[in-house]
């Protein structure tokens, strides 16, 4: 006489979730029951198809709605060199060393202003903006390189005073941005007048300056 159908256990059987005894019971039943074998095969097909579903993009472009909610998107030609503090969370004790931070920041900013005064326009509250169209690419790269070198030197001088975990995170981020800069430079070598690549390179430089200036203002580890 055939045992009771095992329909309710077939998903668990398929997913290999049954213990040895239950598994043996299901297999014994399946060997003699075409109906349950057919159900099992149907479930197997459903699972197989579910695992190979292709993703498809939304029917309409959702980016404009996202861009409008996260802020204005038409800033591609302006590089804000002001540290974006909302992206970094510092503790109260860290803020206590603000005097040191300000001193280092001033040094970096002074170097920037004096060496590249003709190329970089300063506005009140130490806000710097670099207009993409204002500078030839080679000069711009030179300016950024020099500014980055100076800030890097300032950071190196303070490295031993900073929290090692923080330094590790900073270095990891710098490596990633350096990679983006290297990629953009390499692409620009092949296509020097490409406006997108120029803009992308400038943004990457801007981010690196931001990050270095953030790092240079970090307080010493307590």
């Amino acid at each position: 006489m055939m045992s009771e159908h095992v329909n309710e256990e077939l998903s668990a059987y398929l997913d290999e979730e049954l213990d040895a005894a239950a598994r043996a019971r299901v297999e014994t039943h399946l060997a003699g029951c075409a109906e349950c074998r057919e159900v099992l095969e149907g479930l197997r097909q459903v699972v197989r198809r579910a695992r190979t579903l292709d993703d498809r993009p939304p029917a309409r472009d959702l980016w404009p709605g996202i861009a409008s909610r996260i802020g204005s998107a038409d800033t591609a030609d302006v590089l804000p060199l002001v540290p974006r503090r909302r992206r970094f969370a510092f503790s109260v004790p860290q803020l206590a060393a603000a005097a040191v931070a300000l001193m280092v920041l001033s040094t970096g900013a002074t170097v920037l202003f004096t060496r590249h005064a003709a190329q970089i326009a300063a506005v009140p509250d130490t806000t710097l903006t670099v207009r993409a169209a204002a500078l030839p690419a080679a000069d711009l790269v030179q300016s950024y390189d020099a500014a980055i070198r100076d800030l890097q030197r300032a950071l190196d001088a303070r490295r031993s005073q900073l929290d090692t975990g923080t330094v590790r995170v900073i270095e990891q981020s710098l490596r990633v941005i350096d990679m983006a800069i290297a990629q953009a430079r390499s692409a620009l070598a092949r296509d020097p007048n490409n406006p997108y690549l120029n803009s992308h390179l400038q943004r990457a430089f801007g981010r690196k300056l931001d990050l270095l200036r953030q790092a240079a203002t970090l307080p010493v580890a307590s």
């Binding site: 498809r56 998107a73 591609a76 974006r84 969370a89 943004r203 981010r207």
Partner: protein, 194 residues
């Protein structure tokens, strides 16, 4: 029939070189976006929009809700990028955030009360008409599932979550998720073989 060629999110064949290139480019864009670069964030959106929208659409069974929730997901990602530590791949982190957001949305919309009710029935108005007359594809059949069974099916069979994870996310027992999964598969089998 030959299996479909697997592709990266950028639409390139999944060769080791393409996967590495995508990962490098994505890491750079994540760092740039975390520093406030909207163009980098738009590239991340373009890279992941299809995957996120497909996940959300399958979970909520509504194109318009999926559009709105996908936008919510990316706005939330933008707001939380500074908390992304890189412990998991960015895509995995984004995916988790999307799943949690959808589940919370369904909870806040008081949908959970009927999500796992025995008599919970699908919104047939959302089902494609042709599905009632001819063989359906899997996406069509998903719409016909009751909401609770659909969520478990999508998370387990499409996305590869384990029962313990799904139970934790939904606040139910693994016994419930296993029963819902079997129910979903049986209904899907019926729809697909009709």
């Amino acid at each position: 029939m030959a299996p479909a060629e697997r592709r990266t999110e950028a639409g390139l064949p999944q060769t080791p070189d393409n996967l590495l290139a995508q990962a490098d480019s994505e890491r750079a864009d994540v760092a740039l976006a975390a520093a406030g670069d909207q163009s980098a964030f738009e590239r991340l959106y373009r890279l992941h929009a299809a995957k996120v929208h497909s996940l959300v659409r399958r979970m909520v069974a509504s194109e318009s809700d999926a559009d709105e929730l996908t936008q919510d997901v990316f706005v939330r990602v933008w707001q939380r990028l500074s908390s992304y530590r890189g412990d998991a791949a960015f895509g995995t982190w984004l995916h988790r955030l999307a799943v949690n957001l959808v589940i919370n949305w369904q909870r806040s919309a008081s949908r959970s009360r009927r999500l796992f009710a025995e008599d919970a029935e699908p919104d047939l108005a959302a089902a494609p008409r042709r599905s009632l007359e001819s063989a359906m594809d899997l996406e069509d059949a998903l719409v016909l599932l009751p909401a609770g069974a659909r969520q478990v099916f999508v998370l387990h069979d499409v996305e590869g979550y384990r029962h313990e994870e799904i139970a934790g996310l939904l606040g139910v027992t693994t016994g419930t998720t296993k029963a819902q999964l079997h129910r979903a598969r049986m209904l899907m089998r019926g729809h697909l073989e009709r």
